[in-house]
Symmetry: D2
Subunit: 209 residues, 4 copies
């Protein structure tokens, strides 16, 4: 199992995804040791690093984590879209506007993780979770789209499932926030649910808008 | 120009889109008389009605309007996704979960309206606007996806552009809200910008998540 | 009638209260010409300026306006509290923490304006309004408390009623926001309701927290 | 040490304050065993029950807990106000509007707990906390005001300090929410800080509005 996080961005000194991943290093989930890596917040450098990791480890499952400041829940992403529209510069000062992640690629890819099973597992453990229908248009979505495009087009990865989860701020970064222990526990629970569900239950978790 | 709204749903007595559309009846924008229609909040009945209207009028431009309770801005949608996941029943008690709008259709369609030009026009008139990256997974997204699929696949509509805009609540429905006058003015401004821009300016309006 | 606003603060370039007050200059409400003034965002200088204005004009009614970035409604304040606790420095770099506005003064003063009548008037005109139970602990509350203390202790002002109303951001400052026209109309409506209601109707507008 | 919570209200089946208090039963803080009690959400019955408990136990410290659905943080209240304005009926169908908690009482009482020390303790433990300047106008504020009035006027309680803390929803009740473990830990941390600080540090925790 490959789990990635991002370094801090936008002038912040921490990224909850990296903090939580650090706390998870060395763990196993459902018998699979976690391979962990922190990606750069860079349109140019993030995907090449992720691709190398995926092709080297050929994991059964890839979960990329990112920060979603302002969201209240561990936020399981449903869909990645083929657009880059950067409200702020990335950490290398790149700021693409309305450019595709993958020229000629489809408009979007759905996550191949069992997002409803992951959502139900968080709920059953008393943790705040949600299914989200947008991963934004910044580096998080860029990595999520690039991952799904790789898994869809690379035959050696035909058995690898992939997805993305956004995390709220840590206390002190802004509001709302969740304590680090809740993030760490939530990631482990979501990974276990993903590893142990081949298909998704029919559970409503949509949004009216 | 065809502009549609929705009837009330979810137990509410008003829908800001229908209220604003009512106020716009009889107007012209950029020399085009507005054809207006209120669609049912029904997965089964909304798209057939919209398809009939589009094929009968063959407008240069279709803008569908809907309610997004909880959003603060006139919210120009970027992308429609091929999924129905109804958190609440529609007005006929249908509540599909994780079914496609169009079996075999692409995962998503981008709006073909100049969303950045519309966004800039709202800003230039002192109105609160935003580009949104999700229209949800309820009847609004259903209609938006169905519209874009129709425009993409029906040769007689090769010159029709289409898109979707969500509106905040009216005062009294919930918070945040915008007065009816602001909604009505904003729709007219967005339509004018859409009618007069063949292509989109390079203006950042993305989200980090 | 005396109506005051504040200059911009916290690094912002506009203050919706000053923008709206500018648009109201020269108007009369219920036959009373409006006396308008913009106060400095300064713990030291704001109240002396307000006191001079009130004592010079001896108005029937004083309404002070301020910015409440993050609020969605025209926000009629119920109560001023005897504390200064500045999260950010004022425009003169003063940042008092847990000091009273008026040493020895009561813990709080209630507004003497008919806040429920003002609230109902906004609602009846389709504008987003609310009764708020906190004006914060910065210069807005400082001015509100100082005004009410002056009206309570200065015999020459026995017939002057006073209160405070916070305004949301203007579009472009942040979210949620209201267009300038909505703010200006709302202030005029609230003033008219205050001028024409000697007592308050029994209308619920409380908060559970 | 006396710690109280509230039963569920407003049609909800749980109240995070009661759930957290249940988890804390039998504990001691700073050598003081916790006396715990769940109060009815009733304007008529809550204060008599609290008064009996306080007079019987004469604790060094009273902390009342309540639910603040929609808040993101453990929310330490600064001030109680002498008004009842019920947006919804209490659990006995009483719904007072603009009536004082204590006729002839002062407009407000400040908490006598070291709210800044409690706030700093939450922060230092990585938990989301805030100082709030309004406890609303429902039964929570009613109990808070009644407690402070009792402590201010009853000579036998001259050494008892009192205050109030609001808690966010639990997951499943609404958003934002905090897991039960975070609430329970936060209450214990706040109690310890209150018990061990006779005076408050000069730490800014105000709001601009």
């Amino acid at each position: 199992m490959l789990v990635t996080a991002f370094e801090p961005f936008g002038g912040e000194r921490v990224n909850p995804s990296a903090a939580a991943l650090h706390a998870l290093r060395g763990r196993s989930v459902a018998g699979h040791p976690l391979v962990t890596s922190v990606l750069p917040v860079s349109f140019a450098a993030s995907l090449p690093k992720l691709r190398r990791l995926v092709l080297r480890h050929r994991p059964c499952l890839v979960l990329c984590l990112g920060q979603a400041g302002g969201r209240a829940n561990l936020s399981i992403e449903r869909i990645a879209v083929n657009v880059q529209d950067a409200r702020i510069p990335d950490n290398t000062a790149a700021q693409p506007i309305d450019e595709p992640v993958e020229p000629g690629g489809p408009a979007a890819y759905f996550s191949t993780l069992p997002i409803k099973a992951m959502h139900a597992a968080l709920r059953d453990h008393g943790l705040p979770g949600e299914v989200s229908n947008t991963a934004g248009t910044f580096v998080c979505n860029h990595v999520f789209y690039g991952l799904m495009h790789l898994l869809a087009t690379e035959p050696r990865l035909a058995h690898t499932r992939g997805g993305f989860m956004h995390l709220p701020w840590l206390p002190g970064q802004g509001e709302p926030s969740l304590p680090l222990a809740a993030l760490t526990e939530g990631i482990a629970i979501a990974l276990l649910a993903a590893a142990t569900h081949a298909t998704d239950p029919k559970l409503g978790a949509g949004h009216t808008h």
